[in-house]
Symmetry: C2
């Protein structure tokens, strides 16, 4: 690593312009880089380590629930793509198409998967025969391509990584339970690990997934007041099972179509993470997700090796992910800049003073608070407490921002005013008419995000057209 | 799961025809299935669980060594593919090509990656500036496409999953050390986990990777006497660093090209695993790799729930992967067939007899030996010992087969005779001339597999042409 990379003075200020800072910090902190083809991105080791954390956490949950991982082909015959009509209509403008293979033109072009409903359900039709084969619950971690030329690292790229869960059930009630479970996992992942508060709810008819009966989603609010769709869970009803003829014999021997769900969360989530937490010094990783939770900086000329070994051993024993920056060619200042840029939650500094007093100087990345911690019996507990405090602090800060920027209104003038200025979420009655929704989008750039699920039907007037409305919806301009 | 799936009576006999058995068992044991496009394969949950085990084991090793995981784009501009001349020559006949994206014809076609040297090194050129940036050691777990229409599940498919490690170093000596390390990992993975003995060595000029200076590989011998190339590690020299202009300033400020390696192991390895171990009853999973090491079958009408809970807890505590087959709709016989087909190393049967005697009936999958084990203090140790015995037994059996089928010869008549009949490895002097190699292949279907690395130069005569030869090579017909 060259010294030049750790110069932070050039980092664009988050307090000036979030978007410029984001693009800058994602590259300077070596999370990602632009690939050679338009719309493409390279996920560098530091960014990928975060995705590996997400995989680790999510795999634990889904496997405990009985979902199994598998792998389906990347290339989908166009004829399969076209089997469910609203699905192909939704995805065909975004397809990358393989027309040549092994030096020859193909008889049938192959789509690079934009999502795997069609190819998976083609196989499900083959595998599912009896009610004893149900539920079938399979997840894939893979890459998908949806054509896109204007790259915004992590947030908008032609290829991205994700998980896609696809389940088949004997009844719609079971499918809906699964749909809710996946939504719950997403909400939990964001709230507990990403330290990001999210609004969970159902999407409007217009915003739902192409081919779904209903789509649930979690929505996060970014610091610029724009919403980020952060994970979706679809009740596919019997749309695909009818198109792909996935049927089973029930206990009475009657043939029925299965009820299906699909649900996905992508590397886009990491973009949301980087945007949400951070400051002019760089990123800020929530401890529960951070690939490195503690970095140890030995201060030059100190004979601290043994002490550092001892500390590392203590940290390993309490499952804290720690590393030591031993590079001799870098000054302490440069190292501090480097690790602040990368957002490592805790920094230890260990020099002669610490050696003499058998203590560690600990600096919090979120508050820059400096503490001296004795290397005594409570040391481990104190570190765990600090990591937990940082996790909570990040969540509290983000939650306060979300609350401060959620506007409950009932006038369209106010709606337009807010979307023209500070943005954020608007909670307002809406009549659920698509034309009305389109008009709001045209005039304010805001779209319906979700209707919260716990909401009871009430009587109100649509914020735009004044017609009767049953529910309050979350609106926002979206990424 | 329908009962029909557990009918084993239809399973083709391994003792009759290995290839028919393989294709049959891979599908019946639900390891994989054919995808809708020619040459494509679906890896089902049981097969994928094995791949996850491989990932888990291999990740531990490479991360401890300092290799980091990352992700590079799937689609590679053709102009990049063409930068290293022998590389593109080797891969262009196998490319799948995207010509259309987002509804438009692309100005430049994109290759679906057959391997990632070109796109990764395009980025490496950007990232590497100084000797302090070295070594750069990155690995990817991803999917690659090499056009192929004649599917042989796991062993020959148009798309496969693999890991590809790509490193850049300041000196060739460091690169060679890395190349050897990767080979060592592969050898260890096969010997220790797959219970498969392998021959490690260097490939001939003709068989080496397109663009490499030298290729090391591990070769396994399948029960039909054919060799399987099971993992390769390449010294790329400066071929790519010159083509992609990857250079660094050394400590003296002089500009130099980096020295590179790449190394890969794919889902093909699993095909080798399934072929190697097994019998007329189905698969045989080596315990160290098996997703399920112990399956517990409660015998009908037995009040064994509490006892089984207790056993499961004991097994979890010693990190044994166990599951219970509680399905009521299946007879014990069907269940036994099912788990034998899947090759689970140990089967427990627990009924009234076991309940009364506080013991477990344990059946080994490899020998069908039936034991009664007391649920006493030694129970856990006894199970671990059994699993270890099975692991060793599989390795010993495979090793004996390899030794019995390795023929040290010096006559070409003998060479042809062996390749016409029993096959296996032939060890013989070879002059290292490509034309001679081509002639051997034409006449015997055998190719050079490797020259072992520890071998000292000696004097001999080429088995085919009689010219002077320095080394003994392993020959075999190959998958």
């Amino acid at each position: 690593m060259t010294e030049a990379k750790f110069e932070k003075k050039d980092l664009k200020k988050r307090s000036n312009n979030l978007s410029d800072w984001y693009t800058d910090v994602v590259q300077k902190a070596e999370l990602a880089d632009y690939g050679p083809a338009k719309g493409s991105m390279v996920i560098r080791p530091y960014g990928f380590a975060l995705w590996e954390r997400v995989q680790e956490i999510f795999n634990t949950w889904i496997k405990a629930y009985g979902v199994e991982n598998a792998y389906f082909p990347l290339l989908i015959p166009m004829s399969l793509m076209e089997k469910e009509k609203s699905h192909v209509k939704g995805f065909s403008p975004e397809l990358a198409v393989v027309t040549h293979g092994g030096g020859k033109k193909l008889a049938e072009p192959l789509a690079v998967r934009p999502t795997s409903e069609t190819i998976m359900y083609h196989m499900y039709a083959k595998w599912i025969k009896s009610h004893r084969d149900l539920p079938l619950m399979i997840n894939q971690w893979n890459n998908v391509v949806r054509w896109e030329l204007r790259t915004y690292l992590f947030l908008r790229t032609a290829e991205f990584l994700w998980q896609e869960g696809h389940t088949a059930h004997a009844t719609e009630a079971e499918a809906i339970k699964m749909q809710e479970q996946a939504l719950g996992w997403y909400k939990n992942l964001y709230e507990e690990y990403f330290a990001m508060p999210v609004i969970a709810g159902v999407k409007s008819e217009k915003e739902k997934f192409a081919g779904a009966k209903s789509t649930y989603g979690v929505e996060a609010l970014m610091p610029d007041g724009k919403a980020l769709q952060a994970g979706t869970s679809h009740n596919l009803g019997q749309n695909f099972s009818k198109a792909f003829e996935i049927s089973f014999q029930d206990a009475e021997g009657k043939s029925q179509h299965v009820w299906q769900t699909s649900w996905g969360l992508s590397t886009r989530s990491l973009g949301g993470l980087f945007l949400t937490h951070g400051d002019d010094q760089g990123l800020l990783m929530p401890p529960k997700l951070a690939p490195t939770q503690v970095v140890i900086l030995p201060i030059n000329n100190s004979q601290s090796e043994k002490m550092i070994e001892n500390i590392l051993e203590r940290l390993v024993n309490i499952n804290v992910r720690a590393s030591v920056d031993n590079r001799e060619e870098l000054s302490l200042g440069r190292k501090i800049n480097h690790w602040e840029l990368k957002g490592v939650p805790l920094r230890f500094e260990i020099g002669d003073k610490e050696l003499t007093s058998n203590s560690v100087t600990v600096i919090r990345r979120d508050t820059f608070e400096k503490l001296s911690l004795k290397l005594d019996q409570e040391f481990g507990d104190n570190i765990l407490k600090l990591l937990s405090d940082i996790q909570n602090h990040l969540h509290t800060t983000a939650k306060k921002f979300l609350e401060d920027n959620t506007h409950e209104i009932d006038s369209y003038v106010q709606f337009k005013e807010i979307m023209n200025t500070k943005r954020g979420f608007i909670k307002a009655y809406w009549c659920e008419d698509s034309e009305c929704e389109a008009k709001i989008k045209e005039e304010t750039k805001a779209t319906t995000r979700v209707r919260t699920l716990d909401q009871k039907e009430s009587g109100g007037k649509c914020v735009q057209c004044g017609k009767p409305a049953k529910f309050i919806w979350h609106f926002a301009q979206a990424y």
